[in-house]
């Protein structure tokens, strides 16, 4: 009996040292990408990183003459006001956010490219296109890095850089990298036609044109790429199926994804199935449920500036992107009542000129014209996760026309084709504004402002036209070194290979 017991005990004295456990509800590199269909999910993971574009619109955007994110009492108080005043430093959280957001586009793209390269499907044609799309998104991330930060590390693999920090590349190195990637992509890799929401070769051409348009900003000297821009834009205009949408408003409609001809490179948004709060922060709609329905929700802090608002002629149909003055319910008659900052219940009124004596740091909640660019056709009665159905164009056909016009204008300010192109955009949809008869720097930049207001390109335009450092409504003039953002301090501290951009030390 005792022997049996001893044997029984010995059998229970088992041992096992297996500690390999994979998460049940998440995938690892070991158990993913075993089937070809998964690569579309992987590609979707790369495309979701450009959801960050929605933050690009208001973070760098609020450093320009088109947008102010004031502190309204204690609300919104923070780094966004230093963005407007050009008083940011390397600890600015918004700038850190931009740096990290763009880095994520690059990092996630690198990972997907390496996943493909390690896969047995890597030589299949559709997988090769996906790899090209990831390279495009990585080049787009680096394009914005060139534009905002200038000098950052160039990393093109997913190998661990935490223990071996990468070296800093120069703005010119990065420029050349983006240029060579985009050239290869449009010439050899990307197809002429791709699904809506995925990039094709024209997106690479448009982005390369954008890079070339700013050559003198990135490289100094004069722009030697104007002819290249004409070549690229003529290819898009003549061989692609992209065109100007006859309706300006439809470009930003909640159902603007179907049959869209204008959007070349798009941030796809859906109220239910894409990232939360993707656009809604741009709009002041919490008080406007009577106008836009009970689901209306938004941050409500962001405004445009009086000068920028007034640059829209009163008969310009594009002026309707703004919510200005007394507000009415959907019937257009019933005033919307709300409590003002004094606690008085009266008709909601977004005043053009800020009433506060301290418009940037302590604005009144009703100060400033609000944005409604993506809202004008309604929100379809659906608003989940505080996000909208409206897709956001990053590069669209109107910009291709305007880039071409600008290249022609810079070659010859009296170019007739340039004038025609600008008026084509300006008068789209029988817009009753008067056509331009001449082009000047001032009216060119102002026209870009009206066409692309709150679309994320204003900083790029203002720097190229030399107005970024000017004093504007509530901001004094700033020094030219602000044309590059500082490398965020956390990066300088964690990667000792990095040097700060000039002016920030």
């Amino acid at each position: 009996m005792k022997k049996i017991l001893i044997i029984l005990f010995a059998m229970t004295l088992v041992y096992c040292t297996d500690l390999e456990i994979a998460p049940n509800s998440q995938l690892t590199n070991q158990n993913s990408f075993k089937t070809k269909a998964e690569f579309l999910n992987g590609l979707a993971g790369v495309y979701t990183t450009i959801g960050y574009w929605s933050e690009v619109v208001y973070k760098p955007g609020s450093s320009t003459d088109e947008m102010l994110f004031p502190a309204r009492g204690a609300d919104w108080k923070g780094d966004l006001q230093t963005m407007y005043l050009h008083t940011w430093d390397a600890n600015n959280g918004e700038i850190q956010g931009v740096y990290n957001g763009l880095s994520k586009i690059i990092g996630v793209s690198n990972n997907f490219i390496d996943v493909i390269d390690a896969s047995s499907f890597k030589n299949e044609s559709d997988i090769k296109i996906m790899r090209g799309e990831a390279r495009f998104l990585r080049a787009f991330g680096y394009f914005l890095m060139v534009d905002y930060f200038g000098n950052v590390p160039l990393v093109t693999s997913s190998a661990d850089i935490q223990k071996n920090p990468p070296k800093q590349a120069t703005r010119a190195d990065l420029y050349n990298y983006v240029k060579s990637e985009l050239m290869d992509l449009y010439q050899n890799v990307l197809p002429a036609k791709n699904d809506y929401g995925r990039v094709d070769k024209y997106a690479a051409e448009a982005l390369l044109a954008k890079l070339y348009l700013n050559s003198q900003v990135y490289l100094g000297g004069t722009n030697t790429n104007l002819t290249d821009i004409l070549t690229l834009t003529s290819d898009i205009i003549n061989t692609s199926s992209y065109s100007l949408d006859p309706s300006f408003r439809h470009v930003f409609a909640w159902n603007n994804n179907e049959g869209n001809k204008e959007n070349i490179f798009t941030m796809v948004a859906d109220s239910k199935n894409t990232a939360a709060e993707n656009i809604s922060y741009l709009f002041s709609i919490t008080d406007l449920t009577a106008k836009f329905g009970p689901f209306a929700n938004g941050w409500g802090g962001c405004a445009t500036l009086p000068t920028f608002y007034r640059s829209f002629e009163t008969n310009d149909i594009r002026r309707a992107i703004w919510l200005a003055g007394p507000q009415f319910a959907a019937d257009g008659v019933t005033p919307i009542l709300a409590d003002d900052d004094q606690g008085v219940n009266r008709q909601l009124n977004y005043v053009v000129d800020f009433k506060s004596t301290d418009p940037v740091l302590n604005a009144d909640h009703w100060d400033g014209v609000r944005g409604g660019k993506y809202l004008m056709d309604g929100i379809g009665g659906i608003m989940i996760n505080r996000s909208l159905n409206n897709d956001m164009p990053i590069l669209r056909f109107a910009d291709v026309l305007m880039m071409r016009a600008e290249a022609l204008y810079r070659q010859n300010p009296a170019s007739a084709e340039a004038l025609t192109l600008v008026n084509q955009v300006r008068k789209r949809g029988n817009n009753p504004v008067a056509a331009f008869t001449t082009l000047t720097d001032a009216n060119f930049l102002a026209e870009r402002g009206r066409e692309f207001a709150w679309e994320g390109w204003r900083r790029n335009d203002q720097i190229r036209f030399g107005t970024y450092n000017n004093a504007t409504d509530y901001k004094p003039a700033s020094e030219a070194f602000h044309n590059l953002f500082p490398i965020p301090n956390p990066q300088l501290q964690s990667n000792h290979n990095l040097n700060q951009n000039p002016g920030y030390n």
Partner: protein, 997 residues
């Protein structure tokens, strides 16, 4: 089962190891006279009379006199006399609280005089430590024991509240006053920044997992994110004792889980020779202990001319006098082979806020069976608690509209609760919701069962010397939470009703085996060695379903598929801990004691490069009073010096945090054409070097008994150094995430603990026991990533932004940070400087507990006083209430109203204005009881008592209560010491009855 795949291997089967000292639960004075049970049956019974006295000859009233091995027994009367039916072979067992239990043969005596000696030394009591038990006098580490008699009385939701105030160095802070709220138990300070600082709980040899997630539901749902405290699923009445292991030499046997200390819970079991049936019950009432002072309706009208004409005290409207009842029925029995104890308990505890409370029904069965002349001992402990947790809309950290308490503090006091038609009076467009409606309309109930079961077998290869033990355990907590915000409610209206169903299952399985060897050589060398292996796997499954858009409110969450849009999220994770461990105790001549332990732990939570870790410890003790020069000293009766050092770990860092995985989230994907694609989203930057947090601890202690056994106690000094603290650091970019987890921080805790116990008066008519403990702890952050400050402790409320706490090298964890407030000038807050500065700290310097018990002639009175000194709290509630822009429309304090009148608007949240001193002195518990002296024969004892809990608190703190800990995390760090709309603490009075048959 994974284990089946592993090798079967007779580990240590040749090892020359053994058992912990085999010590009986009782001190047997006449241990050679155990009668032969077989002969006893033939004896004729007769009457025995006797008297029980103390050493001075004074009668002891209420002593239990039992015939060993039977259920015959009685208690001594007011003169100490008793009479009992016995045989010549009977052995009497005589016991009384505070005295050493004796056993005595009767023989032919007709009348017997029994003398009990006070158990002042209490040193030979046996304490349960990890993997065995030891005599307390042989302990080399810093450990404390509390037995059920000394537990805090009254209704408590969790076992940790039973020991609050009794153990030096143990700080128990309730999260808030809600029944079932989480508690923070800190043994010797805070040991971690981003991992858990909670101790390990071991119940009857089974380490349990108390990590509970709460649904990460969107802010718009606005339900409470507080998970029910899993320790509340253990009935207080089933606990026999708790041992608190404090220093590393005691906890290192638990290796990677030992750094925060260990609380070992032993449940009650049946006793050989005792059959008893008992009922204990209590009923009581709770009420809010403190209300905040707001503008009354009349005051409100003076500040807001157009205000309403009604008068509503909104705090009174949400608070109530809550009923509490507890019942426990227990029966137990035992003979020489089998003993068991079975109990069922019901604890029904209503909360002081409408529609909150915690109901628990617990069944427990503990059984032990000995076979083959005690060669094989089998035991099984099974506990199931069925619970129902009624939560409320708490919404502490988000949403300008707030929850029940927030709205009770801002609702207009001139408005009625109900409209004339009986419907709730809602305040449209003012960010105020009717708090009574919130409490009554929204239902949020979690119901579940927690089963903790283990069975073990001990086989002696050599009786009393060499044995092997196998322990199998299963612990599962299975619950369903159902919440519904009706269409009729202000929060559910805009979405046509909103429902949540949450399914949670937490389980763990344990397989453990160890060998024990105990032997004494040459009468002077006593050796005890254990060595073993354990395998434990933890399985967590959470699923949340939310839905909106209901046709009507008829079915609520039970018809979640009736909602027009549903969102489902779930998560399943497993982690495994595999360990080898050993401990040796060597005792030379009962003077010099050496303990050495080592544990080799492997955890699936660590990175591939750091899966396994070794945690060693060693301790020495010297019983000075056993030396010839110190023996038989009446001033110093006992003196023992202890020194210990060890290394322990904290592996409570979450699962898979070393890895880079893909999450697939269908609500954050994209469209290609018109086809939706769920994305593979990379979650994190991998860190294959990720490992446990590590604490090394030195402890020096002295145990003493002084002045002719009048005073006993101990004093300990400790110094802890915790390194490899897990912190999120900035990932070098470009990377797939902004942050990166690394073992990079360190902190120290240094402190002194003193415990004193005295029997101040020990007459037979009157006894006064007094126990005092005080501890001092100093926490200091010694290293951070790049030694860079980390801001955390996010502030909440309308217009709130920023953090109020900072981690800074050279400062303690929980340091408050903000602007130095200097006053209000012309309706504006002014500050000493625009820069932020250190404003105080959330951790106390000193914690104290003082317990006194008086007994006389059947009456007993006891009370527990508790105090914390040196801590501050951030009063986020007062900050939000004091804004000048609350008026008109939202109620405020007089401070806020005056600020409003002076033209003030918003306030600066991170400011010294809201950091308040949180020192307090609390009368935690006071109990007056009476043991009936004249009772029917069938009743062994009967007692009634009244208990008051939280009778008063002396504090300068302006919030509801200075002991609070809202869970507000930011930057991955749980803050401590922030009070925002916390559920207030209750004051409870209860009347109870214990009756024993």
């Amino acid at each position: 089962m994974t284990i089946a795949l592993c090798l079967s291997f007779p580990l240590f089967s040749q090892a020359t190891t053994s058992n912990v000292r085999n010590v009986s639960e009782k001190q047997t004075i006449t241990e050679n006279n155990t009668p032969d049970r077989m002969q006893q049956q033939d004896q004729t019974t007769r009457k025995l009379t006797g008297v029980v006295t103390d050493k001075n000859g004074d009668a002891i009233i209420g002593a239990t006199v039992m015939v060993k091995g039977s259920k015959t027994g009685t208690v001594s009367d007011s003169n100490g006399n008793f009479s009992l039916d016995v045989t010549d072979q009977s052995v009497l067992v005589v016991s009384y609280v505070g005295y050493t239990t004796i056993e005595m043969n009767i023989g032919t005596q007709q009348n017997i005089s029994l003398k009990l000696f006070e158990d002042v030394r209490n040193l030979d009591e046996v304490v349960v430590v990890g993997y065995g038990s030891i005599r307390k006098s042989d302990a080399t580490g810093a450990l404390s024991v509390i037995k059920s008699d000394d537990f805090n009385k009254g209704t408590v939701a969790t076992p940790d509240m039973l020991l609050n105030g009794h153990i030096a160095g143990v700080q128990v802070t309730p999260g808030n006053g809600q029944p079932g709220a989480s508690t923070n138990v800190r043994i010797r300070g805070v040991n971690s920044i981003s991992a858990s600082s909670e101790p390990l709980y071991v119940i009857d040899g089974v380490p349990i997992d108390n990590t509970r997630n709460s649904a990460s539901i969107g802010t718009d749902l606005a339900l409470s994110s507080m998970a029910l405290n899993p320790l509340s699923m253990i009935a207080a009445s089933d606990i026999e004792s708790m041992t608190i292991l404090k220093d590393a030499s005691a906890t290192a046997i638990y290796g990677s889980r030992g750094a925060n200390g260990v609380i070992i819970i032993k449940t009650k079991s049946g006793k050989e020779g005792m059959t008893s049936v008992s009922y204990s019950g209590s009923g009581g009432i709770s009420m809010v202990s403190n209300k905040l002072e707001l503008l009354s309706a009349d005051q409100y009208r003076t500040f807001v001319p157009g205000a309403g004409t009604g008068t509503t005290d909104w705090q009174n409207a949400i608070f109530r006098t809550a009923m509490i009842q507890n019942h426990n029925v227990m029966f137990s029995s035992g003979n020489m082979n089998t003993s068991y104890r079975a109990s069922i308990s019901a604890s029904l505890q209503d909360g002081i806020i409408l529609n909150t409370g915690l109901d628990r029904y617990t069944g427990r069965f503990n059984v032990t069976h000995k076979m083959f002349n005690d060669i094989l001992i089998l035991s099984m402990n099974v506990n199931n608690t069925n619970y129902k947790f009624n939560n409320f809309q708490e919404n502490q950290t988000s949403g300008a509209d707030g929850g029940v308490i927030d709205n009770a503090l801002k609702a207009d006091p001139t408005q009625p609760i109900y409209k004339p038609d009986g419907s709730f009076n809602e305040f449209s467009a003012l960010s105020v919701r009717n708090p009574v409606a919130l409490a009554k309309q929204i239902s949020d109930i979690s119901m579940g069962d927690r089963l903790i079961a283990n069975t073990d077998a001990t086989l002696f290869f050599i009786p009393k010397v060499l044995s092997a033990k196998v322990n199998l355990a299963y612990d599962v907590d299975n619950s369903i939470r159902k919440a519904y915000e009706p269409i009729a409610s202000s929060v559910g209206n805009s979405v046509n009703g909103r429902a949540l169903i949450e399914n949670n299952k937490y389980s763990n399985r344990l397989i453990e085996s160890y060998l024990s060897y105990a032997n004494t050589f040459n009468q002077k060398h006593e050796l005890t060695v254990i060595g073993g292996y354990s395998w434990q796997e933890f399985d967590t499954y959470n699923q949340y379903t939310t839905a909106t858009g209901f046709a009507n409110d008829n079915l609520g969450a039970d018809n979640i598929n009736g909602g027009s849009s549903q969102v489902v999220q779930n998560n399943h994770e497993i982690n495994r801990l595999i360990s080898f461990y050993g401990r040796g105790n060597y005792n030379y001549d009962n003077k010099y004691l050496l303990t050495a332990t080592v544990r080799y732990d492997g955890s699936s939570r660590f990175g591939a490069n750091n899966r396994w870790a070794t945690f060693p410890s060693a301790a020495l003790a010297w019983k000075i009073t056993e030396e010839d020069f110190a023996k038989d000293n009446n001033t110093v009766n006992d003196l023992k010096l202890r020194v210990g050092y060890g290394v322990t770990g904290n592996q409570d860092i979450g699962n898979f945090r070393y890895s880079s995985t893909y999450a697939i989230n269908s609500s954050a994907g994209t469209y290609f054409g018109n086809t939706f694609y769920s994305p593979y989203n990379i979650t994190a930057v991998a860190n294959p070097n990720l490992k446990w947090e590590q604490t090394s601890q030195l402890n020096v202690g002295l145990d003493f008994i002084l002045f002719n056994n009048f005073l006993r106690g101990s004093i300990d000094y400790y110094s802890k150094n915790t390194t490899n603290l897990l912190l999120a650091i900035d990932a070098i970019q470009p990377a797939v995430n902004t942050i990166y987890l690394s073992n990079i921080g360190s902190m120290t805790n240094k402190g002194v603990e003193l415990t004193l116990d005295a029997v101040i008066v020990h007459g037979s008519q009157f006894r006064w026991n007094s126990s005092f403990n005080v501890s001092y702890n100093k926490n200091n952050i010694s290293a951070l990533y790049n030694n860079k400050d980390i801001n955390y402790g996010i502030v909440s409320g309308a217009g709130a932004s920023g953090n109020t706490q900072i981690l800074r090298v050279g400062q303690p964890f929980g340091t408050f940070y903000g602007q130095e407030f200097t006053g209000i000038v012309n309706g504006k807050e002014t500050f000493a400087s625009p820069n932020q500065t250190i404003l105080g700290k959330a951790l106390p310097d000193v914690i104290m507990g003082f317990t006194n018990t008086f007994t006389s002639k059947g009456f007993d009175l006891s009370f527990v006083l508790r105090s914390n000194l040196g801590a501050s709290l951030y009063n986020n509630t007062r900050a939000e209430m004091s804004q000048g822009n609350r008026l008109p429309g939202q109620n405020t304090t007089l401070e806020g109203a005056q600020f409003h009148a002076a033209g003030g608007g918003g306030i600066t949240y991170p400011s010294s204005r809201w950091v308040e001193n949180a020192d307090f002195l609390r009368l935690d518990n006071a109990t007056l009881g009476y043991n009936f002296r004249v009772i029917p024969k069938i009743v062994r004892s009967a007692r009634i008592y009244i208990t008051a809990q939280n009778l008063f608190v002396v504090t300068g703190y302006k919030g509801y209560d200075p002991e609070v800990n809202n869970v507000a995390g930011s930057n991955g760090i749980k803050s401590i010491g922030i009070d925002y709309n916390s559920y207030p603490h209750a004051r409870t009075f209860s009347l109870g009855l214990n009756i024993n048959f």
